[in-house]
């Protein structure tokens, strides 16, 4: 049987169709949970935000107007819930959203490439990114989304997305370089 698109499912959900809700949940849940967990590092909190996100989808399906992709809309809801969570629990981590520590010198390319392959180094460095930066990296490199869609999800200008990805990538490069330096 042909799988219905998320947009069609949302249309049905708006009419109270629980089967469509289950189908949408099963088609998006795993990706969405990964996205949420990558920013919270707490599986219980991530499960709660996932739950809240889908409850919002259920309640607000009628408001979805199809101006963006359905998955973009759902990721956007999740992103805002994550940021609300940070505002309530870890406001310090949201300070200075556009700033990352300056990168001093240009790290050695071969060293960085090597560190990137080390899963534990990469995870450590990803975890050090502030939530807004981690989000755009995940959306760019795990979800492979265009910058326009990412801008819709995180509700900021397209230029800001590009700048955030640029700074996040530089911070990762620097962190990976340091990790390799420490390991030597």
């Amino acid at each position: 049987m042909e799988q219905e698109s998320p947009a069609v499912l949302i249309e049905r959900i708006a009419k109270g169709d629980e089967a469509a809700f289950a189908a949408l949940y099963l088609s998006v849940e795993s990706r969405l949970y990964r996205f949420i967990l990558s920013k919270l590092n707490d599986s219980f909190e991530a499960a709660d935000i996932l739950n809240e996100t889908f409850l919002e989808v259920w309640k607000s399906a009628g408001k979805f107007q199809g101006r963006s992709k359905a998955t973009t809309w759902i990721f956007g809801i999740a992103y805002h819930k994550i940021m609300d969570h940070y505002r309530k629990t870890k406001p310090a981590q949201l300070d200075d959203m556009e700033h990352l520590d300056p990168v001093d010198e240009s790290p050695d390319q071969a060293q960085v490439m090597s560190a990137t392959q080390e899963s534990n180094h990469l995870r450590f460095c990803l975890d050090k990114l502030k939530p807004a930066f981690r989000a755009v990296i995940e959306l760019s490199f795990f979800e492979d989304l265009p910058y326009r869609e990412i801008a819709e999800i995180v509700n900021c200008p397209e230029g800001t997305v590009k700048t955030r990805v640029f700074h996040a990538k530089e911070a990762l490069r620097h962190c990976l370089s340091q990790r390799m330096g420490d390991a030597i």
Partner: protein, 218 residues
Amino acid sequence: MTKQPEELSERELHQLLPFYVNGSLEGEELDAIKAYLAGSEEARQEVAFLEQLRENIKKQPQVNSPGELGLKRLQREISRNETLRSGKGEQASDLARKVQLSARAGVSVWWRNLAVAACLTLVVLGAFSRDVWLGDGGDMHLAGSENTAHIQVTFKPQATEEAIRLLLLETGLTIKEGPSTLGVYRLDAETNAGDETLDGILQRLRSRKDVVETADLE
């Protein structure tokens, strides 16, 4: 205003590289990046780094999502919310039934008496007509001509019926009406309590933030 790809600075082109690597660029932007890469060794090195970064981010360990369990949780909550919205008296009688069952299991005579009183109150009130809940302006108010002070309560969506039941028993309250379409319950104190006692009960309700969303004297 959006710039044409041929107007992009080197920095702007550089910032598009991640989206070249993830395959989401198209049209003139893609052509501009291809031209940029053809003429810049630094850009090609950057692409190699980004490709490896992307590949290894995708290789990060899979996470176990809530899956079917998460769906069941959602379905329970949606069903509960729908019931709260449409059930009104149904919920109250269910609660009363549970209170009665609890009394039968009987932890103490005091609890049993209280539970019986709760059931009686609900049965008597069931015969009353309810003509209230939303004013013209959408504000909540309850009809009725009694002089008795009442407490209006809303419960947390995640509060279980068991937790609500226990709290009502502990505080000597019975459900007089509710829930309204906005989930508001109207509660009566078990005894002829004065204002001071009601204030005390109110404080106890408000302190149970895990169960009670709002509690106000009517």
